[in-house]
Structure formats: C-alpha cells, structure tokens
Amino acid sequence: MPAGRPGPVAPSARRLPPLPLVLLLCVLGAPRGGSGAHTAVISPQDPTLLIGSSLQATCSVHGDPPGATAEGLYWTLNGRRLPPELSHLLNTSTLALALANLNGSRQQSGDNLVCHARDGSILAGSCLYVGLPPEKPFNISCWSRNMKDLTCRWTPGAHGETFLHTNYSLKYKLRWYGQDNTCEEYHTVGPHSCHIPKDLALFTPYEIWVEATNRLGSARSDVLTLDVLDVVTTDPPPDVHVSRVGGLEDQLSVRWVSPPALKDFLFQAKYQIRYRVEDSVDWKVVDDVSNQTSCRLAGLKPGTVYFVQVRCNPFGIYGSKKAGIWSEWSHPTAASTPRSERPGPGGGACEPRGGEPSSGPVRRELKQFLGWLKKHAYCSNLSFRLYDQWRAWMQKSHKTRNQDEGILPSGRRGAARGPAR
C-alpha cells in the first residue's frame, strides 16, 4: 500500500526519517576527510518545485581536509554533468548552481543532484522533486456486491501525471451524521480503486469523495452521494444449462438458477443471455429476459455449437428505483443444435455447399409433395429414403473434396448431443 506524503511541503522543510535510519546515520560520525566520505553540504536539501520553475543551489565544502576549496567542483544531475556556465563560485568554499525551467522529475524517488570534487568523487547529494500539484479526481463510480461491500473506482485528474508520487485516498461518511472514514484496501480493481469490505449501512445515503495529495498540494473530487442499495450487483447466475429442445434443429433451451446470495430478493431481477456460434466472436444478446430462469433460443443454425452466457441485474432490490448493475457473465456453456437429417449410406453428413439449396425448406416442401403423392398417386415406393439416396449419389462427386478438407462442415456425427455442462 503506497505511503502518501502529507500535504504541501515547503521547499526547505524536511521530514525526519524513521528512527532506526536516523540511528544508522547518527553513528556515522563526522565525515572523515581523505576517506572519500561526504565533506560538503548541498542546500537546499530535497526541495520540491513546480515544473518550469528555477532552482538556486549551493555546495559548501567543509574545512576538512584543511584548505579544501570549491575550486574545481562540479555538478551532475541524474548522472549527467551540468554545463559549467550554470555554476559559479560564491566564495572560496561554495559553488552555486542556477537551474531554470525545470522538467518533471525523472523518477519518483527524486532527481539526484550531486556535487563532485575535481577528481569526480561524490561530496554531497540532494534529491529534487519537480512536478505538478494533483488535479481533482473525477468520475467516481461505485458498486456493491450483494449489499455486503462497496468498491469504488475513479479517474485521476490530468491523467494522473504529476511527476511526483501522488497518494489517493477514498473517503466516505454517512450523509447526515457520522465521521469521515478512509478506505484502506486500494488497487483492488485497478490502480485507482478501493474496496470497503464491511460495516456498510443500507437505506441511508453515503457521501464519497477522493482526495489526491502530493508534495505540491492536494485536490478533492466532487462528492458522490449514493445509497448502497442503488448500486448493487451480484454474482453471475450459477448452474447454467443449455440443452436441445427435442429434435428441433433451430432451438436450444437455456436454464439457470438465481444467484444464491440474493435469491430471496430478486423479485424484479432482470437477466440477459448472450450466445455465439463456436467459431465466431460476435455475440447475440437476448435482452428481454425478465424475471425468469429459463429461456428458449430460436432461429439458430442446425448442427451448430453455440456458446451461451447469462448475467443478472438485481433491479429493484429492496425497492430501489435505480437501474441496477449487471453482474459478470456466467462461464460459457456450450451445446449444439441437432443436425439436419443425414443422407443415406455412402455419404457423410454435410451442410449444403454454397449454391445448393438449403435443405430445410426444400425438405419441408418435399415432404409435403411426397405426402400428396401418396394420397393422390400410386407412388408408394417413394419416400425420404429414396430422396436421401439420391442426394448421396449427387454428392459422391464432392466426397473426396470434403475428405481433403478434413472436418465436415458440421464437424460432428449425426448422433444427438446432450446438454453441455
């Protein structure tokens, strides 16, 4: 969890580091001359600056070893030597630096401004924090899973690019009473999100806002007011089963169970179904599935595998008038529609190639014709079997090509399939 810095920090203000680190450093003792230890001090230490601003800094050499002067000293910033014309000697022991129009810090731990001796050894360092104050976070959205918790997401102002570590804190309180609370579980659904796991009141509005803070200032979002009951979502419906409807080749039956966590409250729940053909990425959505737990899909292609998903919107829970929030889609469930009747021996079952008449309407018409013939003519030997044999004979010339292409168009044998799990 990121530790945020408090509000605006004056350029020369410094925070005491944690106690043990202070101890580590306080026993270092005085820098030892001649050992390469720090023998200079940079001022200011760790300043915070706005992008585009200027900085005047000094490197003052201690008198150890005796006679040490600032002559020959030079500066680097993030490892790059700064042009000598940016520096000048203030006095025999102090080298000054003037930087203008500063760019945003290259790393969040601060830009490394270092004072070097003539031989390149490091005498002292200071970290610059150059950036922008945060802008107002916006676009807060929240949802509650089964009325048990609340998760909120927001967009940082100015796309979040401040060049400084910016801490975001989600705050909330009951609208008419209560104290401010701070969300503690961050980054649960993305970098700008927070999760409140428990102890939420229902039937009373909350005020929710986000505070952004960095070294250069803070900003607060607009307040979002909501009742947890108006932003409820739930789990995807479990136990989704898809099965054939008898021999109907263009239909599948979909059944599911209400999400158990809210099953006693979903009187007005809405459901949505989406389905797609196995090899397609295009989903078709059935939108008008109101408070039912089953649905029949029609107008499907015969002999085709379909993937089906269902989701739930706990609309109207506890009398809420708001639109509700859709759950995630259930895991895909697959099933296939029955294939058209197979041709006779010698042929595989193929869906008609392009240019051939569709078997569906043709077969229906043929059936009607054969029925009429049997009634009105002496063609008792005519039957679907004869028709199928004729089709197989017609398709013999295509048999080799089908085999070369491997899987038959339906990809399956003619046996009926049970519902997919």
Binding site: L19, L28, A37, N78, Q107, N112, S126, H165
Partner: protein, 202 residues
C-alpha cells in the same frame, strides 16, 4: 589451513556421535547451498535497488562514499586470514545484523518508491533470507562446537533520535551500502562454508 582449522573437523568428529556425522555433513551442504542461492538473490536485489534510485546509481563507475553502517562493516581485508571458526562466527554476526538494516532500508524505500512493489518485496525477502541463513549457520557452528562462548552482543538497538535529519540522497546511498553489504556477507559465508563442505577446497 591453520592447525586450528584442521582441528575443527577432527573435533567435530571426535565430539559428535557417529550417527550424527552424516546429518552434520548434510546440514553443512544445505547451508552452503542456501548461501550460494542467496548470493544470486543478493545480486538481483542490488540491480533492483539501483534501478529505482535513478542515475547515477547503477551507472558504471558510480562510487559514492563508503559510509560505515552502525553495527556492520564489510568483510575486512584480513578476513580470509582468520581461522575458519572465527570467519564463520563473523559471518553469523553479520547475518544477524542484516535483517534489521534491510528492514530500515525497506521502510525508507516504501516512502521513496511506493510504486516499486518488486523492490520492496526483494528487500523484505532479503531480510528473511539473511535471518534464515544466519540461523542455519548458527546450527552448524553449534554442531561443530565452534559457536562463540556466551550470547552474541545484540545489534545496536534504536536510541534517542539524532539532531540532524538524513537527506534523501544519503538515504539512497545508505540503502545501496546495506544491499551491497548483504551481498558481500552472503558471498563471504558461501566461501567460508565451502571450506567445510566435504570434498570442497581445503
């Protein structure tokens, strides 16, 4: 090898029941392997650390002043000239001091680089690893009868705050030293234990 070193294993064999010798051998090998593994992790830690401090950290030739760290120094130049038991005791003492130092660095880095979870995890892991290696080494020393007499002095505890605050650059440099020391002592431990591993260099 000094006569004293040569006696280390003889003493162990003389004092240790025959049935435990294979176990001791196994323990020494195991600890040596652990030290070898942690040497690699220490290199990764150092790389991860310098990456998040920004240049010049990590640049070739970057050589900040080598400031002493409370309670821990680098292996002395004469370390290899000491007796093996003494070297192992120094290794163990260093490994005992390292976890607290690594934790200090981790907490400081949590403020400086809060969005560097991998670095913070590496520092946390390093503290745990140092503790584990130290404990394993203590076991070996005890089994060899080479543990230091009496309890080891505890690492320096937190005392009253100093009157000066450390700047961020100094904190970065200090963290670099601690990570380097971790690597140096783990590597030193691996080398010293290597002399105990049966079949290892004398």
């Amino acid at each position: 090898m000094s006569q004293r070193e040569g006696n280390l294993e003889d003493d162990a064999q003389a004092d240790t029941p025959i049935s435990l010798l294979p176990h001791l051998e196994a323990k020494i090998r195991q600890t040596h392997s652990l030290a070898h593994l942690l040497s690699k992790y220490a290199e990764q830690l150092l790389e991860e650390y310098v990456q998040h401090q920004g240049d010049p950290f990590g640049l070739p030739g970057f050589s900040p002043p080598r400031l002493p760290v409370a309670g821990l120094s680098a292996p002395a130049a004469g370390h290899t000239g000491l007796s093996l038991p003494e070297r192992l005791r120094l290794d163990a003492a260093a490994l005992e001091a390292l976890p607290a130092l690594l934790d200090v660095v981790r907490r400081r880095q949590a403020e400086l680089n809060p969005r560097a979870p991998r670095l913070l995890r590496c520092l946390e892991d390093a503290a745990l690893q140092a503790r584990a290696l130290g404990a394993a080494l203590d076991t070996v020393l005890a089994a060899l009868g080479a543990a230091a007499p009496g309890p080891r002095p505890p690492p320096p505890a937190a005392a009253a705050a100093a009157n000066s605050a450390a700047g961020v650059f100094s904190a970065k440099v200090l963290g670099l030293h601690v990570c380097s020391l971790y690597g140096e002592w783990v590597s030193r431990t691996e080398g010293d234990l290597g002399q105990l591993v049966p079949g290892g260099p004398a």
